[in-house]
Subunit: 192 residues, 2 copies
């Protein structure tokens, strides 16, 4: 069984995605999703708190990333520990094709886009707390987490567009791009 | 008149902040806010769409930042243009003391914290679009915007804690910190 979903949960997720694609998020009901998945509405609520939650399956990604950071070599700098962890995110992603459809459905619905922001912020909070438990000062933990999430978003959008690259390679590539971007003297020296 | 608020709008904002501090966001009504500000509930809705919106006054910050990026020297790299713009954000912030109280009230209410995330994402979207209109490729525009927002958040939390620093100095400092953080060989070279 894949780590991302139980079978019933997976059926509900796939049914929801298909319905959201076909008729939009707003016009799809929980009853419809359950029926399409061959399950009851009651079963739906065993897995998801509400209709929006169906595309944000549990805390698998957060749990995976936190465990990776916790297990990271103490000699790694905070940002290195985070980027190494984020580079393994594809181990808990569903397939690239599913993720791509999901991204499009989320972008088409303000309600889903808001939930997506909140979920990403929850993951960032968990990662910053994990860095703190490794002895990183809270402000620095928050900052490097925000930066690492930016790198990861860059890698994710490239990964969705490029079927040949591995996710961890794209994290390394985005990090290199960031290094070049901030290598210049900075705004204080150039913008005055 | 300060750019952040009209007089009636400012009174509503200050009344809301005081009530949220004293009794919490959930237990405060729009009617109470209006009454405390010496205004009618109808006046409240002339300025704000709902109770949450009262702490996110209009689009003053977004409009200021977009105008700064639009006016930036074309010779500046995208991230330099953004960081220079963000370094002037304190020109439209209310006082540091007001901002500090606001940050605490927002952190204490999940409903306000969600709205804060959405507002920040709206600002990031506007800045990324502005970079695109300067000829920056969409993926790069999104990435450098996410990074610049991370830098700006780091500068903002330091600015709230340190009454002696200027905001633009703190943006330069956070950028230097980022440069050091990503100067190492990166996760691909160290984490395997």
């Amino acid at each position: 069984m894949p780590r991302w979903e139980s079978d019933a949960q997976g059926r509900l997720e796939r049914a929801a995605l298909e319905l959201f694609e076909a008729q939009g998020f707003e016009r799809t009901s929980v009853a419809q999703i359950a029926r399409t998945a061959g399950l009851t509405e009651r079963s739906f609520y065993r897995y998801f708190a509400d209709k929006r939650e169906v595309l944000f399956a549990g805390d698998a990604l957060e749990a995976h990333l936190v465990a990776q950071v916790e297990a990271a070599d103490q000699a790694l700098a905070p940002i290195e520990a985070l980027l190494a962890a984020l580079g393994t995110a594809d181990e808990v992603f569903p397939s690239r094709a599913f993720l791509l459809r999901r991204v499009k459905v989320i972008a088409a619905s303000p309600a889903l886009a808001e939930r997506d922001l909140i979920k990403l912020a929850d993951i960032a909070d968990a990662l910053a707390r994990t860095l703190q438990s490794r002895g990183v000062e809270p402000g620095e933990a928050r900052f490097v987490t925000d930066v690492a999430i930016a790198v990861s978003r860059r890698a994710t959008s490239r990964w969705l567009a490029d079927p040949d690259a591995t996710f961890s390679e794209l994290v390394v590539q985005a990090t290199a791009e960031l290094r070049v971007a901030v290598a210049s003297p900075g705004p204080g020296a150039t913008a005055d």
